[in-house]
Structures are given as structure tokens and as C-alpha cells.
């Protein structure tokens, strides 16, 4: 697992209070991990904070699974 994926997973576990083995690439924040719409806003803020990037609202809307977040942040931090 990449460094980005590890860090994303840690944030998701902390913010949503879920077991780490549930935080897989295909896990949907709302449908699989029990997040509500406010939780997802806060998750995106936590990603921004951790990775020092800005995630615009239209990009944030496309991040619905753990894998989406990892992919977006790997790209954003590689640039």
C-alpha cells in the first residue's frame, strides 16, 4: 500500500470511527462507512490539511470512495 493510501486510511478511521479493515479502496464513505454529508465535507478538509493541497468543491464531489481519495491525492501530491 502506498504512503498516500496509508495516510488516507488513517484519517478515515479517525474521523468516521470505523474498523480499519473496512476501509478498503472500494468502500463508499456514505454507503459503506456510515458517513453523512457533513462527515464527507470534514473528511475532505482533513485530506487538505494532511496533504497540504486544496480540493475544489467540484473535485470533492467526485471523491465518494476511499479509492477515489487515494487516486486524487496521489495525483495532486505528485504534481
Amino acid at each position: 500500500m502506498s504512503d498516500v493510501a496509508e495516510r488516507v486510511k488513517k484519517i478515515v478511521v479517525e474521523h468516521l470511527g470505523v474498523e480499519s479493515d473496512k476501509v478498503v479502496d472500494s468502500a463508499n464513505f456514505i454507503e459503506d462507512l456510515g458517513a453523512d454529508s457533513l462527515d464527507t465535507v470534514e473528511l475532505v478538509m482533513a485530506f487538505e490539511e494532511e496533504f497540504g493541497v486544496e480540493i475544489p468543491d467540484d473535485a470533492a464531489e467526485t471523491i465518494v470512495t476511499v479509492g477515489d481519495a487515494v487516486k486524487f491525492l496521489e495525483k495532486a501530491t505528485a504534481a
Binding site: 474521523h15 470511527g17 457533513l38 465535507v41 470534514e42 478538509m45 490539511e49
Partner: protein, 426 residues
């Protein structure tokens, strides 16, 4: 007489500086213990008041408050502590009442009415600093819903599925008493069968202490002796000591409680309100607001002043103690010598918007156990009075009715009168 329905108390819950839980707090109160200490958790060197009554946190043993028992850690992170305390007190009260609404009918007939004086003061202060330092993109989506006063009622209703009236009270230091009185009215009028009602506060933070100190309301002369700072009616009192926590009661129509065979602690027979129309922080010097408030509660109860055996005073350990005492003397008249009146703020400090709820519970337990809790630190009484102020030690005595007073900034007053449970239905 009115055709209002009778309202009884069937469950109690509390988080106080004496500990987690009603029986822990009450037994320690009666034993003469207190919950004071030096302020923890933030810089106090430049504050004139450096003492408070914090909730004793721990793993839940020895009466300590374990937050994780009452709210998931990920939820605690989103809210100020007043909501956490409200959740703990409400969950305890509902379990104590053995009332767990499951059917739709049960849910829609059960409501919530929680008060708080200031709500999420600490979170507002912290987020203001964050906004200034790092800009609006760092403000959490949980900032607003975790600070709003009515979110105590909101969280409690969501946790327990309570779909009846959902309301909140904001009347400074009388919020808790007004919440109980107003909730009882909703039951009396038929808007609900059961209400979870109370008050919660968590204002022991740097801006909270600085603000009340600026009003000259806080104790400043006992920073080296925290347990001695709250001393109602004593010559050397010099301001209140802030506490935190929550109290919750389950109120129920008498019919509903009897139909389900609930254990009844007490009946709420009187609720009075008044306004001083005098000053934003000081009570009117003639005590007229307090007098009219107690009189209104007696009228609602259909009782005489001489029926009141115990008064749980507002008694904040400020100059206002004498004003309330004068009003109670005026109310009782020639029978003043038969009544005991104590300020339990001498043991737990001033819980602001939670005070009225926690003190209502102490009044109910005084009725149950026929014992008047003590006024600690009353070493040199500042007043001559025939009223027994219960100095230092709890007093076993007959208590037929208990009156609890709460007064708030803005000149707002509330009095509640409780009597023992009605005789078993024939």
C-alpha cells in the same frame, strides 16, 4: 382550580462536579464533599479567578465521568461538552425511568426540553481564532451544529428516538429550571405524555472565566483554597465559583406514569416565573422579582408558604444572597423559623444554565430522603435570620414540599415546587 393534567417525575440523571450519576452526586453532597479545584486545561495565570468545579473525568470507576460511555468518540469531537453532559444525564434519566419508546405512538408522545445559558462558548472562541489565523476553509461543518443551544435537545432526541415536542430554553442561570417548568406545562396541556427536561453547561473556558470576571461576578479571593471559595451567606463570600455539568429529569403525566406502573419520585405541583425589569446582571435590591416568582409558584400549587419545608436557594455566594434571603423571609413571614434553606452551590459551584436542573434534582432527593443538604463554608453568617441555612452538615428533617429557586442575568426568575408522590391510586 385549573384543569391542567398532573405531572410527576419518574427519572433522574446527572453529571456534576461531585461525580457521574445522580446517586454518586447526591451521596457525596449529603456527606459534605465538594467538587472544587484549581482550573485545569487552559492558561489561568492572568485571570483573576483561578478556581472552578470541573467534572471529574476518568474511566468511570469511583464515580468518575467516562465520556466514551455516553457518546462515541467520533461524535464527542463534533460538539461542545454541554451536549455530551446533556446526553449522559438524559440517558441516565431515561434508564432510571425505565422508559424506552419503541412504538411510533410512544415516540411521538415523548419530547425533549433542554436549556443552556451559553451553549458552545469554548468552541466559538476556538473557531474564531482558527478563522482569523487560517481562514474560512478550515471551519468545520460541525462548528454550528455542535455549539447551538437547542442541539442538546436535538442530540438527545436523535439518540433515543423521541419525536414529540423538541424545544430549548435560554434564560441564563435559570435555563434549567425554566426548561423543567416549561416541559411540565407541555405535559399538563396535553402536548406530550413524557418529556426529558433539564439543563447543561460547559463554560469553564478562558473566555468564559474572563467574561464573568469582567462582570465582577466571580470569586477571586480564594485562588489558593478552591474548596473555600463558594460560601453562600458567609461574611467573606466574594463571588461565585463556576461549575459545569448537566441535570435531566423524566417528567410524565400522572395517568401515563400510573398506567405503566412507573416508580414516581415526586410531583411537580408549582412553577412560577417573573421578571425584575431592573438591571442586566444585578437582581432588584428589594427582592421583589424573587418574591413574586415564588408567590406565583405557590399559587399554581395551591399551597401556603408555610407548607414549604425546604428551599434549595439560588444562593450563588455573591452579594445577591441577601436579596434572595430577604425575599424568602418575606414569603414565609412568621413561619420562617420552620423552614430550612441551603445553597448546594457551596459544594458544586454555579452550573449556570444547568444549575436549575441539578438543583431541582437535589430538591427531589431531599424530599425522597427527608434530608436537607448542607450549605458548606458558612463559617460566619453575614445575616441574622430565623431560617435554618443548614450550615456545614446535612440535616435530617421532615420535608413535605421543596422549592427550588433559579435567577438569571437579564432579571429572569423561576421557582419550582415539588411534593412527594401521590398516594397509590385506589
Amino acid at each position: 382550580m385549573s384543569t391542567l393534567r398532573r405531572v410527576v417525575v419518574t427519572g433522574l440523571g446527572m453529571v456534576s462536579p461531585l461525580g457521574s450519576g445522580v446517586e454518586t452526586s447526591w451521596s457525596r453532597l449529603v456527606a459534605g464533599q465538594n467538587g472544587f479545584g484549581r482550573i485545569q486545561g487552559f492558561e489561568i495565570d492572568d485571570l483573576p479567578c483561578q478556581i472552578a468545579a470541573h467534572i471529574p473525568r476518568g474511566d468511570g470507576t469511583d464515580g468518575t465521568f467516562n465520556p466514551d460511555k455516553w457518546m462515541e468518540p467520533k461524535e464527542q469531537r463534533k460538539v461542545d461538552d454541554f451536549i455530551l453532559y446533556a446526553m449522559a444525564a438524559s440517558t441516565e434519566a431515561l434508564a432510571d425511568a425505565r422508559w424506552k419508546p419503541t412504538t411510533y405512538e410512544e415516540q411521538i408522545s415523548t419530547g425533549v426540553m433542554f436549556g443552556s445559558g451559553i451553549g458552545g462558548l469554548s468552541g466559538i472562541a476556538d473557531t474564531s481564532i482558527l478563522l482569523k489565523d487560517r481562514g474560512p476553509r478550515r471551519v468545520s461543518p460541525f462548528f454550528i451544529p455542535g455549539r447551538l443551544i437547542n442541539l442538546a435537545s436535538g442530540y438527545v432526541s436523535i439518540e433515543h428516538g423521541l419525536k414529540g415536542p423538541n424545544h430549548a430554553v435560554v434564560t441564563a442561570c435559570s435555563s434549567g429550571a425554566h426548561a423543567i417548568g416549561d416541559a411540565a406545562r407541555l405535559i399538563a396541556l396535553g402536548d406530550a405524555e413524557v418529556m426529558v427536561a433539564g439543563g447543561a453547561e460547559s463554560a469553564i473556558c478562558r473566555i468564559g472565566i474572563a467574561g464573568f470576571a469582567a462582570c465582577k461576578a466571580l470569586c477571586t479571593a480564594f485562588n489558593d483554597q478552591p474548596a473555600k471559595g463558594s460560601r453562600p451567606y458567609d461574611r467573606d463570600r466574594d463571588g461565585f465559583v463556576m461549575g459545569e455539568g448537566a441535570g435531566a429529569v423524566v417528567l410524565e403525566s400522572l395517568e401515563h406514569a400510573q398506567a405503566r406502573g412507573a416508580r414516581i419520585y415526586a410531583e411537580l405541583v408549582g412553577y412560577g416565573m417573573s421578571g425584575d425589569a431592573y438591571h442586566i446582571t444585578a437582581p432588584s435590591e428589594d427582592g421583589d422579582g424573587a418574591f413574586r416568582c415564588m408567590t406565583a409558584a405557590l399559587k399554581r400549587a395551591g399551597m401556603k408558604a408555610s407548607d414549604i419545608d425546604y428551599v434549595n436557594a439560588h444562593g450563588t455566594s455573591t452579594m445577591a444572597d441577601g436579596i434572595e434571603l430577604g425575599a424568602v423571609e418575606r414569603l414565609l413571614g412568621a413561619t420562617a423559623g420552620n423552614t430550612s434553606m441551603s445553597s448546594t452551590k457551596s459544594a458544586i459551584g454555579h452550573l449556570l444554565g444547568a444549575a436549575g436542573a441539578v438543583e431541582a434534582i437535589f430538591s427531589i432527593l431531599a424530599l425522597r430522603d427527608q434530608i436537607a443538604p448542607p450549605t458548606l463554608n458558612l463559617d460566619n453568617p453575614a445575616f441574622e435570620t430565623k431560617i435554618d441555612l443548614v450550615p456545614h452538615k446535612a440535616r435530617k428533617r421532615e420535608i413535605r414540599a421543596a422549592l427550588s429557586n433559579s435567577f438569571g442575568f437579564g432579571g429572569t426568575n423561576a421557582s419550582l415546587i415539588f411534593v412527594g408522590p401521590p398516594a397509590a391510586a385506589a
